[in-house]
Symmetry: C2
Subunit: 316 residues, 2 copies
């Protein structure tokens, strides 16, 4: 029987589970929708999904070694509970206890953490020992690999890189603090910034791109118009790169990673984004004169990163 690892990617809308081999390949996957609000239903759905996955694995002569979870929220892996979870709600949900009949080791971590692990073990940062991942989506998620190992912070509750202060007493963040990196560097922040620039620059190409309706603004608006030479869009992108770049410099000064890996919606900009960020870091001496270089890379496992990373929690 081949040893395999089950990875579960919990999202706001769906729960995806995959069976992954030691090479980080997904052998098969299954998913179900969640109603997005009810914790009891979430537990039930998760258990049913995992029973199906485990059974199918055994039918295929595979030997699951355990189940890893990437949770959009705060977890306590020692106690096997989800302290809190975006979208689904609930407090201190005893996931591990609820799944005890599956008789498999359970490892809980946060979604950005497992994405970092996936990219470092099997993705774009394979072979590197020191890696920082930032997912730029609704928020800014952070994952830290130190010396080949996932660093989750004491009690598994650290590595919240999106919730470090970039502008003291700046924008209100959902976390309760003000001026967090997340409020300036997330995809949501880019949309807000795009709307602000459009209001200010009425002759910007961005208006045409949005069919003169500001409600059509997307993560592409500013980037695509900047590439076409629109002045306002280029100014906007420079501002956004500064926010993100200053965040990277902070983490460079703390961790000195070999590479930053950028994931989430914004990462679709590829080299256009990484070239600008690398230029910003280089100009600022990677945070400190004489400091070693950090590359900027685009995450490559995309939608599979959650499953692969969660499964990787159980490997070795």
């Amino acid at each position: 029987m081949g040893k395999v690892y089950i990875g579960v990617d919990v999202g706001g809308m769906s729960i995806k589970a995959g069976v992954v081999n030691i090479n980080g390949e997904i052998l098969f996957k299954k998913s179900c929708v969640t109603d997005g609000q009810n914790v009891d239903q979430f537990l039930k759905d998760t258990k049913t999904l995992l029973e199906e996955v485990v059974n199918e694995a055994k039918e295929k002569d595979l030997d699951p070694q355990g189940i890893g979870f990437g949770i959009p929220g705060m977890v306590d892996n020692n106690l096997g509970i989800i302290n809190k979870m975006a979208n689904i709600g609930g407090r201190d949900v005893p996931l591990k206890y609820y799944l005890k009949d599956l008789n498999l080791p359970i490892y809980l971590s946060n979604d950005a953490n497992v994405a970092a692990l996936a990219e470092q073990k099997f993705g774009v940062a394979k072979g590197m020992k020191h890696v920082i991942l930032l997912t730029l989506g609704t928020g800014v998620g952070g994952g830290v690999i130190v010396n080949n190992q996932l660093y989750e912070g004491n009690q598994g509750k650290g590595a919240e890189l999106g919730h470090t202060c970039l502008i003291l007493n700046g924008r209100q963040c959902g976390c309760g603090r003000k001026g967090c990196l997340e409020t300036y560097a997330s995809a949501s922040a880019l949309l807000r910034l795009t709307r602000e620039y459009m209001e200010k620059y009425k002759d910007s190409m961005m208006w045409e791109y949005c069919n003169n309706d500001i409600n059509n603004v997307s993560g592409l608006t500013s980037f695509e118009c900047a590439k076409k030479g629109d002045e306002a869009a280029n100014k906007l992108i420079d501002e956004y790169i500064m926010y993100l770049g200053e965040g990277l410099l902070d983490f460079a000064n703390i961790f000195r990673p070999e590479a930053f890996v950028i994931g989430g919606g914004i990462s679709n900009q590829g080299e256009y984004l990484t070239n600008k960020l690398e230029e910003y870091l280089r100009k600022q001496n990677y945070g400190y004169e004489g400091a070693p270089e950090s590359k900027v890379l685009i995450a490559k496992l995309k939608n599979d990163a959650g499953i692969i990373g969660a499964a990787s929690l159980l490997m070795e």
Copy 2:
């Protein structure tokens, strides 16, 4: 022969070396002044001092296991070189090579790192596994202990906690960036803030405390007048606590330490300071709702922390 460890605390004005036993006790120490500018002289002085220390140790039937250095600057421990050093100058100074005739293992680290190690192994944070130390002096030095081990960042060049951005495009920092924590939370920053408040509040008790001469401002001025109830001084201290507190919240969100240890001149304020900081952290939920508590403690090894911490680099 008892096993001992030699710790060297390199300062701008003097080089101090001590022989430390496995319990973190300094058995004896020696020091010499440095001329503060000349690298060749620094190397020569260091070697002479260490030859004397090693000889005296052997006369006392002690068996030195190696020499650790706490350097005020950037080092490359693998190559055994000091990349750059505050006050003394020089670039990529081959300290390890220069001391090769001593035939002892050499370990180079930065001064705040070794202070953190000293406090965690033998000082106020003894018994804790996750500790962040900040020294508040001319600058803000940072030291990180993760899971009982010193974390120096990749290539030993990280943990520069004072050089994370608190206010985007804020005050110019000596490191080249703008708005670093160091420019708001160091002792030097407190002095600047004190002078600013005095210029603004001409009736503040701080003027009397300084004999009406702003050149007499010290690190005590604001704290002592705040304790006596001076309104301007209390406002000033609240602002300073906010700067420092927001920095601690950033590191709480990244590391979730069991304790923050405060060293340097400002730490003489003791519980008056730690109570205010703990209150600030508590009000902000330690960075994140549901996050575990981090204590705030005052470093206790004072001037010996450098020697003890540097010696500790070689232990185990």
